[in-house]
């Protein structure tokens, strides 16, 4: 079967903030650049970001990039690479001002400068006092970023392929990346995109959890493609959680609700946070509240028919306070939890929010993997940026507003590296291997021919339940070991998923089946990586190993999908120009 081939200098998979920032760099350099996206670019998940983007502009209070760097290193619980962190924090002011020049409508101070908001974890003078560092465009920062970048790309002649799904990475015999295969949804046809350089910017994979704040589109496609192509995934045990998502829906209930006096109850009607945190009670730090909630569920004091959530009670505040001080919360509860908080408590559960791990890259956006003695050899022609990449600036825990920053700083850096690579090392296309589309075609034909198979929705639900039960915020050896076994059983079921609709044109059942094949790779990587890490660090809180162990575990995990094996590589302890920030206990 011959598969049509399209040729570009650069192919970018993903039209969110990271993909579009990289594309701009390439198109403006005059290179022929394609951006593939499953959805219209401005509907990428970046649109959900409200809080803002961090940069030490110092517009409201004195600030320095070195302080931003310190906060990020500390936030990462010393798993972040300090060269990449320095690079990001130093570039942040320039990156934000550049967005401003592109026309992004930031909130402003009276003097015309960009306004900056306070945000948890942002401090002056290495933790001394809070600082206002977050730049925002009302509560639509992500939306504004996407629109700004989209307009610039249209002007720069970036070619968008909207409603195209990349299926697999194409590597030649030398292991170099020479393109991707992709499915055009409109026709159901598979194409080869032949490129001198490929960048993945496919976003997060939060949908591996039953409780997730991520939109349905976050299925970790870039990570699945890497695993199938023999590229390892880094630090997949680290996922950030928010304590109060609506059970069964994922929609966030802001911390403000507990600030105003909302309390958490278990099935016995007990205010259990009094037991875990006698002083702070329901206002203890995020991760602590989340772990206490899950402990209640694990010990059988969860609520509901499956005893799998706790209750957030507000009715004692009275209707006036609820309506005045917590606008929107009542509507969210009614719409997504089916309860009116003026009368009834809201079912809530710790909810997955952000993926710290991903495709291993350096601060230049180059994908790097172990080869011989070199733990970080470049994969020629392959780049990654944004939530799907692990540079690693977020380490074991991301600081709020650092993700949008990551998108633009590393999107641009990767774009620059690609321009340089194409100009200096790859003036012509490397030939495609003979079997370039074979894997993708085989995946599709298996789906079309499978009989007596498994239902996609059922298997996806089984995966989400397993990951939620075994690798959410509360982790212990027994649970993780069970999870490793169970998720591999689910992975066997994924091999037999079946679709009823075999039509070609806009077959969304097929797309969802192909997405599940990506999700499961991420889920297996998460459990196997988490089971192996015998310490607590950042978002990985292990009940049987409660301390951070820098002697043994200050290292990055690398997961290989072919034989589901792990290796490790050192954390970068050498910043680019400043002194190393040595580990300290992470207290707040």
């Amino acid at each position: 079967m011959t598969v049509p081939v399209r040729r570009f200098d650069a192919v970018i998979v993903g039209g969110g903030g990271a993909g579009m920032r990289a594309a701009l760099q390439l198109s403006e350099s005059g290179l022929k650049t394609a951006v593939l996206s499953k959805v219209f670019p401005t509907r990428s998940h970046t649109v959900a970001a409200q809080g803002g983007i961090s940069a030490s502009l110092g517009n409201v209070q004195e600030d320095r990039w070195e302080w931003h760097m310190y906060d990020t290193v500390k936030g990462s619980d010393w798993l972040g690479d300090q060269d990449a962190i320095e690079f990001m924090c130093r570039k942040a002011p320039e990156a934000v001002i550049e967005l401003e020049h592109f026309g992004m409508p930031f909130d402003r101070l009276e003097n015309g400068k960009i306004y900056q908001r306070p945000f948890g974890g942002h401090t002056q003078n290495n933790g001394e006092s809070p600082v206002q560092r977050a730049c925002a465009a009302a509560d639509r920062t992500g939306h504004a970023m996407l629109h700004t970048l989209y307009q610039r790309n249209v002007r720069a002649n970036t070619q968008f392929f909207v409603e195209w799904m990349a299926l697999d990475l194409i590597r030649d015999e030398a292991g170099d990346v020479v393109g991707v295969t992709a499915l055009e949804m409109e026709t159901g046809e598979v194409y080869i995109f032949h490129a001198k350089a490929v960048l993945f910017a496919t976003g997060g994979a939060g949908r591996i959890y039953a409780a997730s704040t991520n939109a349905f589109i976050n299925t970790g496609d870039g990570l699945g493609m890497c695993v199938r192509a023999g590229i390892p995934l880094e630090d997949m045990e680290f996922w950030q959680f928010h304590p109060t998502g609506v059970a069964g829906a994922g929609v966030l209930i802001t911390e403000g609700v507990r600030g105003e006096g909302g309390i958490l109850l278990n099935a016995n009607g007990e205010r259990f946070m009094e037991r875990y945190a006698p002083n702070l009670k329901d206002l203890a730090p995020r991760d602590f509240v989340a772990r206490s909630m899950e402990q209640e569920v694990l010990e059988g004091r969860g609520c509901g028919p499956n005893k799998d959530y706790v209750l957030l009670k507000l009715d004692h505040l009275g209707p006036d306070i609820i309506k005045q001080r917590l606008p929107g919360i009542r509507e969210i509860a009614i719409k997504f939890a089916g309860v009116d908080p003026i009368k009834e408590p809201i079912p809530v559960i710790p909810t997955c929010h952000y993926m710290m791990g991903g495709i291993p890259t350096n601060y230049r956006g180059e994908v790097v993997i172990p080869q011989g003695d070199n733990p970080e050899a470049r994969v020629n022609g392959f780049y990654a940026a944004g939530e799907c990449a692990c540079a690693s600036v977020h380490g074991a825990n991301r600081l709020g507003t650092n993700s949008l920053l990551d998108l633009v700083v590393f999107g641009k850096s990767a774009g620059d590296s690609m321009v340089e690579f194409i100009r200096n090392e790859m003036p012509n296309w490397k030939p495609l291997p003979a079997n370039a589309a074979e894997r993708s075609l085989a995946r599709i034909s298996r789906l079309d021919n499978q009989t007596n198979g498994e239902d996609v929705t059922e298997v996806r639900t089984a995966m989400q339940r397993t990951v939620q039960a075994r690798a959410a915020v509360f982790r212990n050896s027994e649970n993780l070991a069970l999870g490793v076994k169970e998720i591999q059983e689910v992975a066997e079921r994924v091999k037999r998923i079946q679709i009823k609709d075999k039509s070609k044109v806009f077959n969304t059942a097929r797309v969802e089946a192909l997405e599940l094949e990506n999700l499961i790779e991420v889920a297996v990587a998460t459990l196997i990586s988490a089971e192996a890490r015998k310490e607590s660090r950042g978002a990985h809180a292990h009940a049987d190993f409660q301390q951070r162990d820098d002697e043994v575990w200050m290292k990055h995990t690398l997961y290989y999908g072919d034989d589901r094996r792990l290796t490790y590589k050192p954390v970068h302890t050498k910043p680019l120009s400043v002194d190393y920030i040595p580990p300290k206990e992470r207290t707040f």
């Binding site: 499953k38 959805v39 509907r43 959900a48 629109h147 939109a215 829906a249 929609v251 509507e331 719409k335």
Partner: protein, 82 residues
């Protein structure tokens, strides 16, 4: 809705996947329950909603913003009730 191109229906279903979880949930419920009963006019209005930016669309659906476009008011009313 019988005389509409089935491919167009599938396209509309895919475009109901959004960048915001809240919209995904509302639209998923609607696609499972109510979508099939739309009149041609309602379907045209729904298609127009899908052209909205996600934040504007959600503000309408949540009742946070008033719908000033008379063509959309009715279908947004249906979505609010989902």
């Amino acid at each position: 809705m019988t005389d509409i191109d089935p491919v167009e229906i599938k396209r509309i279903r895919w475009r109901s996947r959004r960048g915001l979880l809240e919209l995904d949930i509302v639209l998923e419920r609607f696609l499972a329950n109510g979508f099939d009963q739309l009149t041609m006019a309602e379907l045209a209005a729904y298609r127009k909603c899908l052209e909205l930016g996600d934040n504007d669309f959600l503000d309408y659906v949540n009742g946070k913003a008033e719908v000033d476009d008379p063509e959309l008011a009715h279908i947004i009313g249906i979505l609010r009730a989902v």
